[in-house]
């Protein structure tokens, strides 16, 4: 008798068959139910509450709260900090990932560990580092004061703290990707006469673009949402050194719930947008990875 073998994904089953590892319907529904309940209670409900509270007194009040000068200043400052921090970390992250992924050098593992440092320390400590460095009583404080340069309780401090906290996102996303891809394509480009820059922009970068974009998205979300480190260095000067998260906290402490939630809803919207873009990119890079794996599988034993 002739038998036809159909290849299928390991995860899918022929209709009518039951995998050995599956559970009965009761257990399945129960587990799914618990997960759904948790999601609803701890994620969906608060998120709805943010928007509900923001719009509690109608759309006009909502828009008014956002157009208020201090709120606008906070939004501007947040955008400014992100606009500086994200490109800075993209440049750093790509350079570090390139160096770590393509070359062996002394102190490589130390560099990898250092990149993770901002994740390891509390954001408050991150902020304090800058206060201790650049503050009036800090190491460089007197010199800065003498030259009339303000870093702490001013915009530069906020930008520095934001860069520090969002430092690892791009690099960590790219390092494993670049390591996995090896350097054969770069070598091929080199033998074909391409310069280093040409190779980087036409071969290396296109191969990691989805990973890079993913890192940028996460980096941006964190840069706009950062509270702890920025709070320490900002000094909370309304209209001047308040970012959106800081502004929200002040409003909330003053019982101005609607304006507080109105600004908060902007951050929440940003989060939703980030998640949407993130899952799109994940989907794309998964596709790319599958192609890569298919290509690798065909290589066979070497």
């Amino acid at each position: 008798m002739a038998t036809t073998l159909t290849l299928r994904n390991p995860g899918t089953l022929l209709p009518g068959t039951v995998a050995a590892t599956t559970e009965g319907p009761l257990v399945r529904w129960l587990l799914t139910g618990i997960a759904a309940l948790f999601l609803g209670l701890f994620l969906l409900l608060p998120l709805t509450m943010v928007f509900a509270s923001a719009l509690a007194k109608g759309l006009t009040v909502y828009v008014e709260s956002l157009r208020e000068p201090d709120a606008l200043a906070a939004i501007r400052l947040t955008l400014l900090a992100a606009a500086i921090a994200v490109p800075a970390n993209v440049v750093f992250g790509v350079a570090a990932a390139w160096a770590i992924g393509k070359f062996d050098f002394f102190g490589k593992s130390l560099l990898i560990t250092l990149i993770d440092l901002p994740f390891a320390v509390s954001p408050v400590v991150s902020g304090l580092i800058y206060v201790l460095l650049f503050g009036l009583q800090g190491v460089l404080g007197p010199w800065l004061a003498a030259h009339d340069i303000k870093i702490i309780f001013a915009v530069p401090g906020i930008v520095l703290a934001t860069i520090f906290v969002t430092f690892p996102f791009v690099a960590r996303e790219l390092i494993p990707l670049i390591q996995a891809q090896g350097s054969e394509e770069e070598e091929a480009a080199l033998t074909l006469g391409a310069s280093g820059w040409r190779t980087f922009f036409h071969v290396t970068l296109p191969n990691v673009k989805w990973g890079l974009l993913y890192g940028v998205i996460l980096c941006n979300a964190r840069a706009m949402g950062e509270f702890g480190a920025v709070s320490v260095v900002s000094g909370h000067i309304r209209g001047r050194t308040n970012t959106m998260p800081l502004h929200i906290e002040i409003l909330y402490n003053e019982y101005q719930f609607v304006p507080a939630f109105a600004v908060a809803s902007l951050l929440a919207l940003l989060a939703l947008l980030t998640l949407f873009v993130k899952s799109f990119i994940e989907w794309r890079s998964k596709q790319q990875l599958a192609e890569l794996e298919a290509a690798t599988a065909e290589k066979g034993p070497s």
């Binding site: 394509e185 070598e187 091929a188 080199l190 006469g193 310069s195 290589k299």
Partner: protein, 353 residues
């Protein structure tokens, strides 16, 4: 363009990959660097390409020293084992890459690039796949694209690193014959690395057999196969039976057991190599030139019948005979037979063997 490597030494930490290698490749030849993994063949190829730099020694193209030139300046075509195609570019873009990255002054016009790529596509017989991505191609197609990409820049030499290593057996044979034909057409000096002796013997004009960072022998496929210079070359270029024997008064003895009467030889102990197809199985003892063996296993699937036997002194013996001879003999398992070596190769006892 001729290639010369003079006194090349390369170390990776404590490991010596290449130990004072001298090799010259005449213009227009297709040369195979053959050896087991770790023999330094790929390292040598990469040093010729400028992807790796030797600790000492020089590389010359047509007599001029290019040791300090980068891969970019050497104008070599390099084909990688795993193709290394640019995965985000189409077949067309891949092949055009080397032309498009040229400085503006040297870059051909757009329609000229297009014409060249189309010529190469027809050379590799993939005209209608120009707009596919590498992921959509089979392994054999990818390797042909990689070859076209390397040829697009009109390189002075073509270097191929295990070009067929990642392909399955059938495609491998097809593609290597195709490469041979291609070389007969375009006569570009080519060097390819392989660990497959069959591939090297079939495709190359000359074979360079390498082992542990040394060159064991350089010669035509016929020379290295039929007149191996060292036991290693003999062992590496095909299956072989190895016997510890000795030479006594001009006579070769496969094993002391063949002639137990004599004392240890004054001519010193030797290692005797016999290819499986140079062993003949007989039912009857012929003159004195034979030993007894017991058949343990018979594999008759394939062009030749492979017989595994155990010699009278207990070592395994591999024998190959034609299907015809096998039918005549009607061999069965556990049968005792007489084995006659028709042709042997004797080297001084090799302590490593």
């Amino acid at each position: 363009m001729s290639i010369a490597a003079v006194g090349i030494t390369k170390r990776f930490g404590p490991f010596t990959a290449l130990d004072n290698i001298d090799l010259s490749i005449p213009s227009g030849e297709l040369v195979a660097l053959l050896g087991p993994s770790g023999s330094g063949k790929t390292t040598l190829l990469r040093i010729i390409a400028g992807l790796e730099f030797a600790d000492s020694g020089t590389v010359r193209f047509d007599g001029s020293d290019i040791t300090d030139q980068s891969a970019r300046e050497r104008r070599v075509g390099f084909v990688f084992q795993h193709y290394a195609l640019f995965r985000h570019m189409t077949v067309f873009e891949n092949i055009a890459f080397g032309l498009r990255v040229r400085p503006r002054k040297l870059r051909p016009a757009k329609n000229e690039i297009e014409r060249r790529v189309k010529d190469l596509l027809s050379l590799i017989q993939l005209e209608n796949l120009a707009h596919r991505y590498p992921a959509q191609l089979s392994g054999g197609q990818r390797q042909r694209v990689a070859l076209a990409r390397a040829l697009a820049v009109e390189p002075s030499v073509l270097l191929l690193d295990e070009p067929f290593g990642a392909l399955d057996a059938k495609v491998r044979v097809e593609l290597r014959r195709w490469l041979r034909q291609l070389h007969d057409e375009i006569h570009i000096t080519s060097v390819f690395v392989t660990h497959d002796q069959e591939e090297a013997l079939e495709v190359a004009d000359r074979v360079v057999v390498m082992n542990q960072g040394h060159i064991e022998q350089v010669g035509s496929p016929d020379e290295v196969y039929n007149c191996p210079a060292t036991p290693f070359v003999y062992r590496f270029l095909g299956n072989v039976n190895l016997f510890h024997g000795r030479i006594d008064e001009g006579q070769t003895y496969l094993h002391d057991a063949v002639d137990p009467g004599r004392a240890a030889s004054h001519n010193g102990s030797k290692t005797v190599y016999v290819r499986p197809h140079w062993l003949e199985i007989r039912r009857q003892p012929n003159d004195e030139n034979h030993f007894r063996a017991t058949i343990k296993h018979i594999n008759s699937a394939g062009p030749v019948v492979k017989v595994e036997a155990v010699s009278e002194w207990g070592s395994p013996v591999h024998i190959e005979l034609s299907q015809e001879r096998f039918r005549d003999l009607q061999l069965t398992r556990n049968e005792a037979v007489f084995v006659t070596p028709k042709e042997v190769k004797v080297f001084d006892a090799d302590p490593a063997a």
